[in-house]
C-alpha cells in the first residue's frame, strides 16, 4: 500500500479500471451461478419482449370495444376473456405491460438512484450536509402526494416520462433514509477509517467500501419500488394523473376490475399475475445481484 500514498492520483485511476474489469467478470460469474436470477432475467426479458411486440402479437386492437361481449370468461376467441367494455383482455395485458414495465422499472430505478445519492452524501459527509439533506427529506416526506398529483395533473400533461419522474420523485425518501442510516454506521468501520486516513478520495471510498455494504438494502428498495410504482401508476390514473383510457396499464386494469372481482375473477387475476411475475423476477434478479456484488463469496 506504499504506492498509492506516493502517487495517489494515477494509482487510484489505474487500480480502479483494472479492478473494475476483473470485478465485472467475477460478478458476472457469480450472477450466473444464481439459477433463479438467470431464469428470472430470461422471463423478464420475455415479458418485456411480448409487451413491446404487442402490435405484432396481439389478436385484437387494445381499444376494440364490443358491447355484446362484455365480461366474458376465457374462451378460444378470447384466451383471457374480455373486460367491462368487451375488449380482449390478453391484448390489453400485452399493451398494458409496455407502460407498466417501463414505469415500474424506470421509476423504481430513478427513486433508488436519487435516494442513494442523497442518502450517501448525507451519511458520508455528515454534520451540516447531513442536516440539510435530511431536513430536505423531512420536507419531501411531508408533502402530501394526493394534492401534489392533482396540482401537477392540472397544470402539466401526463406522459410516460412525466409519470416516471413524478413516481421517482415521490419515492426516493425511504431509500435515502435507509442508505444514510447504514452509512452512518458503515463509515465508522476500520477499513473505511483507514482508507480515509490513507487519503483516498470520497467517491472511491463510497463506491468501493461503502456501497457494497449497503447494496443489499438499495436492491431491496428498488425491487419493492417496482411493484409500488406499478400500483401507484394506477392510483395516479384514478386521480386523473395517470395514463388515460382507453390505453391500458396493468394498474388501471386492476382498478377497473374492482367492481366485479368476486363474480368475474379473471379480470383481476391476469393483470394481478402479470404484476406478480414482474415483481418476483425483479426480486430474484436483485438476489442474484446481491450475490454478484458480495465480496465474501
Amino acid at each position: 500500500m506504499a504506492a498509492p500514498i506516493m502517487e495517489p492520483q494515477t494509482a487510484e485511476v489505474e487500480g480502479i479500471t483494472a479492478a473494475q474489469r476483473s470485478n465485472a467478470r467475477i460478478a458476472w460469474d457469480k450472477f450466473r451461478k444464481h439459477k433463479l436470477a438467470v431464469a428470472s432475467t430470461c422471463l423478464l426479458l420475455a415479458i418485456a419482449a411480448l409487451c413491446f411486440l404487442a402490435p405484432l402479437i396481439a389478436p385484437y386492437k387494445f381499444d376494440a370495444i364490443d358491447l355484446r361481449n362484455i365480461r366474458r370468461p376465457p374462451s378460444a376467441r378470447h384466451v383471457f376473456g374480455t373486460d367491462g367494455l368487451g375488449r380482449d383482455l390478453f391484448t390489453r395485458l400485452l399493451y398494458g405491460g409496455r407502460i407498466s414495465v417501463t414505469i415500474g422499472l424506470s421509476a423504481a430505478l430513478l427513486g433508488s438512484m436519487l435516494g442513494t445519492l442523497i442518502g450517501s452524501a448525507a451519511g458520508y459527509y455528515g454534520r451540516g450536509v447531513d442536516n440539510l439533506l435530511m431536513r430536505l427529506t423531512d420536507l419531501a416526506y411531508s408533502i402530501p402526494t394526493l394534492p401534489l398529483i392533482i396540482v401537477i395533473s392540472a397544470y402539466a400533461g401526463s406522459s410516460i416520462a412525466s409519470l416516471v419522474a413524478i413516481i421517482g420523485f415521490l419515492s426516493w425518501m425511504t431509500t435515502a433514509r435507509v442508505v444514510r442510516g447504514s452509512i452512518l454506521s458503515v463509515k465508522e468501520n476500520e477499513y473505511v477509517v483507514a482508507a480515509r486516513a490513507l487519503g483516498f478520495g470520497d467517491l472511491p471510498i463510497i463506491l468501493r467500501h461503502i456501497l457494497p455494504n449497503i447494496g443489499n438494502s438499495i436492491i431491496i428498495g428498488t425491487t419493492l419500488g417496482v411493484g409500488n410504482a406499478i400500483i401507484l401508476e394506477s392510483s395516479l390514473s384514478f386521480l386523473g394523473m395517470g395514463v388515460n383510457p382507453p390505453t391500458p396499464t396493468w394498474g388501471n386494469m386492476l382498478m377497473d376490475s374492482q367492481a366485479t372481482m368476486a363474480t368475474e375473477p379473471w379480470l383481476t387475476f391476469f393483470p394481478g399475475m402479470a404484476i406478480l411475475m414482474t415483481v418476483l423476477c425483479v426480486n430474484f434478479i436483485g438476489d442474484g445481484l446481491q450475490d454478484a456484488l458480495d465480496p465474501t463469496l
Binding site: 454534520r127 442536516n131 435530511m134 431536513r135 427529506t137 423531512d138 420536507l139 416526506y141 411531508s142 408533502i143 402530501p144 394526493l146 394534492p147 401534489l148 392533482i150 396540482v151 392540472a154 397544470y155 425518501m173 425511504t174 433514509r177 435507509v178 444514510r180 442510516g181 447504514s182 452512518l184 454506521s185 465508522e188 455494504n213 449497503i214 443489499n216 438494502s217 436492491i219 431491496i220 425491487t223 419493492l224 411493484g227 409500488n228 400500483i231 394506477s234 386492476l254 374492482q258 372481482m261 368476486a262 383481476t268 394481478g272 404484476i275 406478480l276 415483481v279 418476483l280 426480486n283 446481491q290 458480495d294 465474501t296
Partner: protein, 317 residues
C-alpha cells in the same frame, strides 16, 4: 446526545413553518374550491350562493392573507374551523385519533412480530425452502393491491362464512373485547400484510450482509452459541436499515391506511383526509397534514436516536 436532541427540536420550528408554507401552497394550487361539494350533487346551484359561500369561508381573499390568518391562529393553538362541518379542526382530529391509533398500532405490532423473525430466519437459511416460500409470499403481498385483498377477505369472511362484520369498529350497544376484535381483524390483517412484506425483506437483506462480516465469523469460530451470536451481534447491527424503514412507515400513521379505512368503513384520519381533499376543506387539510409532518420530523429524530443506540460509534454533533 442530549444537546443534539435539543438542537434538533429547536430546528423543528423553522422546519415546520417552512413545511406549512409549502403544503399550504400545494393544496391551494390544486384547482377547485370548497364549493365543489355543492356542485357535485348535480343539482342547480345559484351562482350567488356559491359566491356567498366562498366569502363566508374567506377563500375569496388573497392567498398570503389566508395563510397569515391560519398561521396566526395556529400560533395561538387554534387549528381553525373545518369548512365542511363548521367544527374546530382539533376536535375532529381528536375524535378520530383513538380509532386510527388502535388500527395502526395493532397492525404495526402484528407486522413487527411477524416481519423480524421472518426476515431473520430467511437470512439464516438463505436459499432454503423456508426462504423461498417467505420470499414468494412477501412478493404476493406486494403485488396484491390492498383493495383487492380487503374485498376478498370481506367476501370470504362476511358474505360467505358470515363470521366477521364488513364495516365499523364495534356493534352498536355491544362493548366486549371479542366484538371489537371481530371488527378490527380484517382491516388489521390487510394493513399489516403490506408492512410485513416490506420490513421482512429489509430485515433479511441486512442480516445477510451482517452475517458475512468478519466479527460475526470470529464470534462464531470462537464457539459461541449460534443463537447468542445472532441476538447479540447480528440483529443489532442489521437493525439500522430496518429501523429507518419502520420509523418512516410509522410516521405515516395518518395517511398510510386510506384504502383500508375506506373499504372497512373505519373511522380513521386517512379517510377524513381524502374527504377533506375532495371538499377542499383547507383548514382540516392543514391540520391533518401538519400533524403528519410533525410525526415525520419527530420519527426521523427518533430513528437517529435509535441509530446511536444500535451502533454507539455513530455520533451526532
Amino acid at each position: 446526545m442530549a444537546r443534539y436532541i435539543v438542537k434538533r427540536i429547536a430546528q423543528m420550528i423553522p422546519l415546520l413553518i417552512g413545511i406549512s408554507i409549502v403544503i399550504f401552497g400545494i393544496i391551494q394550487a390544486a384547482p377547485g374550491g370548497p364549493e365543489g361539494t355543492l356542485l357535485d350533487r348535480g343539482m342547480f346551484v345559484d351562482p350567488a350562493a356559491i359566491d356567498a359561500y366562498r366569502a363566508k369561508l374567506g377563500v375569496d381573499k388573497p392567498l398570503y392573507l389566508q395563510y397569515l390568518r391560519w398561521a396566526g391562529a395556529m400560533l395561538g393553538g387554534d387549528m381553525g374551523v373545518s369548512f365542511q362541518t363548521q367544527r374546530p379542526v382539533l376536535d375532529m382530529i381528536a375524535e378520530r385519533l383513538p380509532d386510527t391509533v388502535r388500527l395502526m398500532g395493532i397492525s404495526f405490532a402484528l407486522a413487527f412480530c411477524l416481519a423480524i423473525p421472518l426476515g431473520v430466519f430467511s437470512a439464516l437459511r438463505q436459499y432454503s425452502v423456508f426462504d423461498y416460500v417467505s420470499t414468494g409470499l412477501a412478493f404476493v403481498a406486494i403485488a396484491m393491491p390492498v383493495f383487492w385483498f380487503g374485498l376478498m377477505l370481506q367476501y370470504l369472511f362476511s358474505v360467505r362464512l358470515q363470521w366477521l362484520p364488513v364495516a365499523g369498529t364495534a356493534t352498536i350497544g355491544v362493548d366486549t373485547l371479542l366484538d371489537k376484535l371481530k371488527h378490527i381483524a380484517m382491516p388489521a390483517t390487510v394493513l399489516s400484510l403490506t408492512y410485513v412484506a416490506g420490513w421482512s425483506r429489509y430485515m433479511r437483506s441486512s442480516m445477510l450482509v451482517v452475517l458475512k462480516q468478519d466479527y460475526i465469523r470470529t464470534a462464531h469460530s470462537k464457539g459461541l452459541l449460534k443463537k447468542t451470536v445472532i441476538v447479540a451481534h447480528a440483529l443489532k447491527n442489521a437493525g439500522i436499515p430496518v429501523v429507518s424503514v419502520i420509523t418512516q412507515d410509522i410516521a405515516r400513521i395518518f395517511s398510510g391506511a386510506v384504502i383500508t379505512e375506506t373499504i372497512f368503513g373505519w373511522p380513521g384520519i386517512g379517510r377524513m383526509f381524502i374527504q377533506a381533499m375532495s371538499a377542499r376543506d383547507y383548514p382540516l387539510l392543514m391540520g391533518i397534514l401538519m400533524m403528519g409532518s410533525t410525526m415525520v420530523v419527530a420519527f426521523n429524530l427518533l430513528a437517529d436516536i435509535i441509530y446511536g443506540w444500535l451502533d454507539p460509534r455513530i455520533s451526532f454533533k
